[in-house]
Amino acid sequence: MEFSYEVKDSYAEVKADGRLNMVSAPKLREFVTDVIAGGSNRIVVNLENTAFMDSSGLGALIGCLKAARQAGGDLRIAAVQPQVNMVLKLTSMDKVLTAYATADEAFGND
């Protein structure tokens, strides 16, 4: 699992490459918390290279969403792969999170 981020025009893009599971989930939460503390409260988590996610990974995303909202911003997800999409549906998390096609689109209308 490898995390990286890049500050774009209107948001910060966080990439989570690899398997976002129970081991890496707490790390994602820490990573995003740091990005928010660094001054970006509009976060897009780009999942194009996230081949696998479990419920702990998804739970960490909610934690990050809460942190971003409390900082006055938002967290969105983009480029969701089929397995992750399945997990979103299985846990009904697709009722909460919109999966945007690309990172650019995520804050496109806002």
Binding site: S55, S56, L58, I62, R76, S92
Partner: protein, 652 residues
Amino acid sequence: MTRFWTRLVVVLTVLTGLNYIAWRWMSSLNWDAWWIALPLVAAETYSLIDVMLFGMTVWNLKIRKGAPEPPQDATVDVFITTYNEDLDMVLTTALAAQKIRHPHSTWILDDGARPELKALCEQHGLGYVTRSEDWTKDLPRHAKAGNLNNALMVTHGEFLLILDADQIPEPDILEKTLGYFNNRRVALVQTPQYFSNVPVSDPLGSQAPLFYGPIQQGKDGWNAAFFCGSNAILRREALMQLGLVGYVKETEKSIRRALAASRAAIRQARKSTDIESALVAEVLDEVEAATRDAQQEVDAGQPLAEVTYRVRRRVDAAVQTLVQADVAALQADLEEIAAMELAHVGESGVPVVADDAVERMSARDWSPLGALESVQAVLDALTVERTGEAQPVMPLATISVTEDMATAMRMHAMGWESVYHHEILAYGLAPEDIATMLTQRLRWAQGTIQVLLRENPLVQKGLKLGQRLMYFATMWTYLSGFAAVIYFAAPIIYLLLGILPVSSLSWDFFIRFIPFMVVNQLLFAVAGRGIPTWRGQQYSLALFPTWIKACTTAARNIWFGRPLGFAVTPKARQSGGPSWSLIRPQIVVSILLAVAAAVGIIRLATGLAEPLGTLVNVVWVVFDLVVMSILVRAVLYKGYEPATEPETREES
């Protein structure tokens, strides 16, 4: 072979039982004394359903032959939950947990946040977890469920072994159970809870051999063996999934509730006297439009994060416009004043409102909407942050003080499977005095009734019929207190007043009742295979005040939001002399029964009562008194004293 005999006796029990109860309803009721006749036949019907559910449980008794080889790379966290227990005891359990053979991390989950315990953990290389800073004072703590949920966020083992602070595990507990998880649908393996500080006579009825035996094995056969809070292994993925599903459900519910309340809140705000400026009215219009749109979007199934975000943005923008206008007016006023009193201002020039004033005054706590509390409350609830809880994701159910059963039921409803492994792999400590024992029983019963009232298994989506009935069976058992009162009242009423609830005690009665009673006892004997069940039968009747109190307090809690009066079961013996006051209702009932028997015999001697009725009722009274007699032993019980081993070792 045993299965054949068990099933045969189940069939016989059901047939004789239905035969008896049908006759009771249709042709035995003494309508002249309907006020006791109807309650009694209702109580008997209750008991028959109870026995039939037990029969259904043991029908599918599953005797497992042990788990396959466990996967060597499975990662495990061992959680030892504690709140205020004796540190020596916690440490003994933790050190035993450290010695479990399969690779794992051992954590003490200290809800008491005791520095001494933290130091002990550091000294012995144990993990130590207390509530994170998210658990602020104003948020519900959810007792043990909260403690576990908090720990789940800071650990990452694939499986979790949950142990109460007094449950000392065997080193092979994981080797014997992890293999079941090779089946990827298995989410839970429960092992028995057994207590090492209980004498053979078990005066407090601590051991539950029938439950941690035929009942759980039977439930296992229906894929409904449930989590009992300790000595169980859980799959993290299943718990987290439950947490996510719960998060989505709760979030949607609270958003819908807030939207439903928004119209009234806005109406109220418009009426309130604070509304003078047209601008505030405009903001309210915008809030109304935003919530109306949100309602449509939620109904159309749009993702909630987006919907709530849009509402927040629109309202923020409207508030900013309002503040901007106020600030502009203020600035204009200042300039006007400055123009009029130019001479006094002198060198300092025209005062200027700070640049960030608009931003600061629009912030949540300063916002003009803040004054409109009802509107603010609606807006605060339109969120996906689950602000009413310390963590958005709560894997263990928090709807009941017995989080274990509620959690297991939700797992089953999601399609997960459970296993009951019938082998003692941990040794715990039972209460050693009646007060503690009663607190513990009350808590279990309250929790079970809470689950029944909040998430009735009979109507939960996703459960199979057998699973529904298995959960319901356990809950049904806890209603026995009401039936017990009737069973005590009926003989008293007959012996004192000569009023019989049945139309006659004739051949018709005995020919139906006795076969049912006999096969009923046979069923317990066959299903129990020699397990001592008498103590359990005694307590299920004798603790009737506890069961009734559990039902009434749980119902008040759920329907009227009253507190349960919840207490953690103390693990150390309570001091003081025999506490007869704890069983006052039982003493009163026992005296009434004895007096009634005496009066009944006098009435018989004086020819006021008939022999058969008196005999049946006196036998009934004697049975009740024998049942209740266990409480005398329980009150007098002085705690466990290990039998002194005879000195066998030779001096060397």
